[in-house]
Symmetry: C2
Subunit: 280 residues, 2 copies
């Protein structure tokens, strides 16, 4: 497995590989890799990528003031070993200074899909996400990039960016990977105390309940369900950040929860903000 720190060197290498006709996959991550990330690498392999580039970069621009940029967990040595074992062919470990010059001044903004949900709660988050992904897409110029469904809104925003800026990159989406307990895997789970972890199970619990009910009755009024979920989360000592039911493509709120609708939850367990979602 090759290691790159310098964007220019990775770009040069990736272009050469592409010239050779090799299929290139990009798996963008913020590191501290778990089974969820490794499933993205596995998906890239399954899709026939000859080169699988995993980027490990905690992107400062997508964190707001007061968020956890400083304390976000990092373990490059473990990430390196996991990437190699999972079958990545290159790992990209740039420093923030290599990605953002002191006078960096160009940003990519998605102005529609990113305004609700996490975008509403984390102003500037998707501007940071779009900017760093535009950079990574240009550096690696992959045939496809793999994202996790856990960041559902991110997937939709990235697909839109690829379409609107003509990146010509396929966006592949891999399903959410969960702990045996049902908790969606996240690098941030490492913040949770045992009790907070136990409480956090209510998130997926609520999503599963909604899906089961809709399967039984066909559809449910979104307003009622959202209120019920919020109450259920609160009863489990979680602080809901948002509970939403939206159209899978437009991310616009729906009135009725039925097949094809996405229900999304962001909630705090202690001080840790967790997100999860389910496609009904």
């Amino acid at each position: 497995m090759l290691t790159f720190n310098d964007p220019a060197k990775l770009q040069q290498w990736a272009r050469l590989r592409r010239m050779k006709g090799e299929k290139i996959a990009l798996v963008p991550t913020m590191g501290y890799l778990h089974e969820g990330h490794l499933s993205l690498i596995a998906a890239a392999k399954k899709k026939g990528a000859k080169q699988i580039v995993v980027s490990v970069f905690v992107n400062p621009v997508q964190f707001g003031p007061g968020e956890d940029y400083e304390k976000y967990p990092r373990d490059e040595k473990a990430d390196f070993a996991k990437c190699r074992k999972a079958g990545a062919t290159a790992i990209f470990l740039p420093s923030p200074r290599m990605m953002y010059m002191d006078d960096h001044s160009v940003y990519v903004n998605e102005e529609s899909l990113s305004t609700g949900l996490c975008g509403a709660r984390r102003p500037g988050h998707f501007r940071g996400v779009c900017t760093v992904l535009a950079k990574l897409f240009n550096i690696v110029n992959p045939h496809f990039a793999v994202f996790g469904q856990k960041d559902y809104q991110q997937v939709q925003v990235v697909k839109r960016m690829v379409r609107d800026l003509n990146f010509g990159i396929e966006i592949a989406v891999a399903p959410i990977v969960r702990e045996e307990s049902g908790l969606a895997m996240s690098s941030r789970n490492t913040y949770l105390s045992p009790v907070e972890q136990q409480n956090a199970l209510a998130i997926y619990g609520a999503l599963k309940m909604v899906r089961a009910k809709v399967r039984k009755v066909g559809k449910l009024p979104a307003a009622t369900v959202r209120r019920q979920i919020a109450q259920f989360l609160a009863k489990n000592s979680l602080k809901p950040d948002y509970v939403e039911a939206v159209d899978a493509e437009t991310l616009q709120p729906v009135e009725a929860i039925k097949k094809g609708v996405v229900v999304l939850i962001a909630a705090y367990s202690g001080k840790t903000r967790l997100i999860d979602n389910i496609i009904i």
Copy 2:
């Protein structure tokens, strides 16, 4: 010469050419081509491009409300003939709907170099420029793109975008092409009445005078010179939009005009806004 209307087809073709090892140049234009544009094609040829793609697209997003998007001159048939004669190998003539879907929502913003000069006078202009160029860069993925020095601020903004978003494209700059009278060539010159055209000569006249004086005395106070130029323009029935002396790289205003400083003018002759500049 090939003709493309569909971004996806051009992208596919350009990638194939690149796979074959051919050097690709992009010359982005808004059409109604004049000698200035043709000099960009000639520059691309001289730099050894095997494929020279000229895009002809009046980009609605870079025009503000009340600007001349609707009446901007267009002549695709003449542009086609001129491109072929000049040695372009492909012309890209997309419709606005092919470039911007109804729900287009992703934009590229440069937030530093684009704030002054034309950016201050035309809010949103460089957002439109950066967005359409990001699209064209991704569609054509050229080895280099050629721009005219006449749009000096645009050149600096585009270079910054290429750096900050890691496009990996060389930006080549060709000198300003002028009418025999000295007037910088521009598609908008077609708006000018004979009298307005005569008055417009004062723009380059002023720039040449400054350069000659600085060559003689070494440096001049920017504030005084700017005031003198504005008066000179007014005396020639022009309405100055701005007269600035800036650092060639940062575009920050300077106190003294000396070697390496750029003096830029935007001024109205009648209702037509003209720009010009000179590197001292």
